[in-house]
């Protein structure tokens, strides 16, 4: 008997850290107790995307979405929904601005405007079961490719689709594959970049954890197209679950004859191995990644010889990003016409002429609906931040959205109507990067935020080329001076000059794009930066050297909570009387502000 209901539980890292696996066990037990095992199946899925409201439970075919489900909610949920057949009201999604609960997933604004291509199986399959992937038409594209198509036809299809690399640079995938096919050499490699080093990004993690076969199928198709029989997936070590899921998927694909020798009896061989990164951001860069797979330090090299000609072990190598590969089976299955009908521009003459298909973004920071989304290229920043991500939490005003991680920039309110695609973002001084978006509210300081990214770059610079190694340090020092209120106008000028030099002279993309956060902070938020210089003031109240904490005696009720939580015991005052902060002992840790229930702590 087919079960009448499927209960899908998210086991992505976000939900799992909120104990979703305990909820799953409780559900299984409760369902068994009620004798419903034959009727209701429980499935553990990968990341569902809506991390803000986890643990998430989704019931099919009813399309009912439950949020923040705890173990204690399980008995009522099972009784109401699975026995009595009505949604369990207490755990339905309620919009952050208030309103009626929304039972159906497809009616929830966060999901409504999404178009799922790379994330087509998101939250719908058990990532450790190849049968689930196959049941949703998985490996059909590969079968067609191997039995009906020539490599050239595959490349033509991918080129015409307008697919561009999702790893950041936006290089046309079909063009890369064509060069790799043409490159001379018996042994060629297909490599998958799962390094995802951009802080603030987790889409590749979710794909690898939630739908690993989509990546393997994409790699296999690429291998057939370029003529390769060996592949590697390079995954950062910080993603242990992704490593495990990919390894399980490889094993299963081998068992099913979808990897290994003579795949599907078509006389084509291809196998894949996993290599773990070791905590170096620069290893996301193509030549550094290849050095790392070889077992060497991940230092990039100049690319006057392209990696498609001489990459891993000096052999032709075709490197694509996780999400790029996940798109490939869909393009071959539904046709390039379908794919290129989504997105911006025109790629019929020039593969760089537009951005086609969808893009997955991870959206985090000061928004109500943090999580993972997939939208057509060309969706505006406003739609993403306000319609899908639900805008900023109460009391916060929009200041900027940061795209592209350390390689990208800050985009201000005036650019909210910008359609998001590869080229528009670059024009605005930012970058698609791998698709991280972090929203900053009015209380975030641009100097501090730029410093955060340059600190990252200075730390992650591999040190091989001088402009990046020294330049990032100089930029960091200038930003520190600014945030301490010690900078002059000349310091700002120097910062700007060095930023341009680092961008122009660095060896690899890390240094070339590292100045973007600084340059966009100066381009769009100059007044705020200059307030630190001229008035020695941090308008957002974040730069520690320029702020003081005090207590508004009018608002303070004397509850003593702040004094109890102060790590340096610098808050004085009697119970039920207004408290005060002894400024010279205050370390500005912010604990008092976090715990105060009366908004009485003032930062100036």
């Amino acid at each position: 008997m087919e079960p009448r209901l499927s209960v899908l539980i998210c086991s992505g890292t976000g939900c799992a850290s909120n104990k979703s696996m305990e909820v799953m066990d409780a559900l299984r037990k409760e369902i068994a107790t009620r004798g419903l095992e034959q009727e209701v199946e429980v499935v553990q899925t990968g990341c569902q995307g809506f991390c803000a409201v986890g643990p998430i439970v989704y019931v099919q075919p009813d399309d009912v979405f439950y949020q923040q489900v705890g173990v204690k909610d399980v008995p009522r949920l099972v009784e109401e929904h699975f026995l009595k057949g009505r949604p369990y009201k207490d755990k339905l999604y309620v919009p952050p601005m208030g309103g009626m609960p929304i039972p159906k997933l497809m009616d929830i604004p966060f999901f409504k405007s999404q178009v799922l291509v790379a994330l087509r199986n998101k939250g719908l399959i058990d990532p450790e079961k190849i049968e689930d992937y196959i049941a949703r038409d998985g490996y059909q594209a590969l079968a067609r490719v191997l039995t009906e198509m020539k490599p050239e036809q595959v490349i033509e299809c991918v080129t015409k689709s307008g697919l561009r690399g999702r790893g950041g640079g936006g290089f046309p995938t079909g063009v890369k594959w064509a060069s790799a096919r043409k490159a001379s050499g018996d042994i060629k490699y297909v490599l998958c970049n799962g390094d995802e080093g951009d802080p603030g990004a987790f889409m590749d993690r979710s794909i690898m954890e939630g739908d690993p076969h989509s990546v393997l199928e994409g790699m296999c198709i690429a291998a057939f197209a370029v003529g390769s029989s060996q592949g590697y997936v390079y995954v950062r070590k910080e993603y242990p679950l992704a490593v495990q899921r990919i390894e399980v998927a490889i094993e299963q694909a081998r068992e099913f004859g979808l990897l290994g020798k003579d795949i599907l009896g078509a006389g084509f061989d291809f196998d894949v191995e996993v290599r773990r990164g070791a905590g170096a951001f620069v290893c996301g860069e193509s030549t550094a990644l290849m050095a790392s797979i070889e077992g060497n330090p991940g230092e990039p090299r100049a690319k006057y010889i392209h990696t498609v000609d001489a990459g891993l072990w000096n052999r032709p190598s075709c490197l694509n990003n996780v999400e790029t590969f996940a798109n490939v089976p869909m393009i071959l299955q539904r046709g390039w016409e379908w794919f290129s009908s989504i997105g911006t521009g025109d790629v019929s003459q020039d593969p760089w002429g537009g951005s086609k298909g969808t893009k997955v973004f991870s959206i985090a920071g000061d928004v109500n609906n943090t999580g993972l989304i997939e939208v057509p290229m060309g969706t505006t920043l406003r739609e993403i931040v306000f319609d899908i991500a639900g805008g900023l939490p109460e009391g916060k005003r929009f200041k900027a959205v940061q795209t592209g991680g350390p390689s990208g920039g800050f985009l201000p309110e005036s650019l909210l109507n910008l359609p998001v695609d590869f080229d528009r973002l670059v024009e605005a001084g930012s970058m698609m990067g791998s698709g991280g978006m972090v929203v900053l509210g009015h209380d975030k300081c641009m100097v501090d935020s730029a410093k955060f990214f340059i600190d990252f770059t200075a730390d992650e610079s591999c040190g091989k080329c001088t402009p990046c190694r020294i330049g990032s340090k100089i930029m960091l020092q200038s930003l520190e001076k600014i945030s301490e209120g010690k900078a002059t106008e000349e310091d700002v000028e120097q910062l700007e000059r060095v930023a341009h030099e680092v961008a122009n002279l660095s060896l690899c993309g890390l240094g070339k794009s590292a100045p973007n956060p600084v340059l966009t902070a100066l381009r769009y938020f100059r007044d705020e930066v200059m307030a630190h210089v001229h008035e020695k003031r941090c308008p957002a109240g974040e730069c520690k050297a320029l702020i003081t904490y005090s207590i508004d005696a009018g608002k303070c009720t004397g509850c003593t909570l702040c004094a109890k939580n102060c790590p340096t015991d610098c808050i004085t005052g009697e119970r039920k009387a207004a408290h005060a902060i002894v400024t010279d002992r205050c370390i500005k840790c912010g604990s008092c502000k976090i715990v105060c229930n009366f908004d009485a702590v003032v930062v100036q």
């Binding site: 850290s17 803000a52 603030g200 290599r275 773990r276 905590g279 330090p297 920071g365 972090v438 840790c589």
Partner: protein
């Protein structure tokens, strides 16, 4: 020694798998002991300088022992924006060590982590390799550390009893 040879064997003695072997050594010993690196060098015929170059290039490896329990505070963009640095500072005060150091009793090491990809539940921290805690509050770090100690104590006791 036996362990190291097993690790070399697991990776087929392949030089290009050096980084994978170092991961396994690090997991086994909580750091990369010099003796282990010497064995790898001899077995793989890779000069010790080359192995040290790799071992010191990558942030995942450490030549000195890490604490029994590793606390890693995420400093990815989303976590930073939501006060990740405050979490780190609170733990520095609680454990009386700086980020990157180990407590004198060897019980804890404190580190900042590059984005761990849990931006949806920022700010986050990881205990050891894969125990993720989301939406952590800097004012609750005292209890957080105490709870870990308690749990470990209980674990040791039950292990001793068994």
């Amino acid at each position: 020694m036996q362990k190291i040879l097993q690790i070399v064997e697991k990776w087929g003695g392949r030089k290009d798998c050096l980084i994978e072997m170092l991961h396994d050594v690090q997991t086994e010993y909580n750091h990369l002991p010099e003796s282990a690196l010497r064995v790898l060098s001899a077995r793989l015929s890779v000069p010790l300088t080359q192995i040290t170059h790799v071992a010191t290039f990558y942030a995942s490896f450490s030549l000195v022992p890490k604490g029994d329990t590793r606390l890693r505070v995420c400093m990815g963009t989303a976590c930073y924006q939501k006060g990740g640095n405050r979490i780190l500072e609170a733990l520095e005060r609680e454990l009386k060590v700086k980020s990157g150091e180990v407590t004198p009793d060897g019980e804890f090491s404190l580190e900042s982590a590059r984005c761990i990809g849990c931006c949806g539940i920022a700010p986050a921290l990881v205990v050891d390799d894969d125990d993720v805690f989301g939406k952590v509050n800097p004012t609750k770090m005292k209890k957080f550390v105490a709870d870990i100690k308690k749990k470990k104590q209980a674990g040791k006791q039950s292990a001793a009893e068994a």
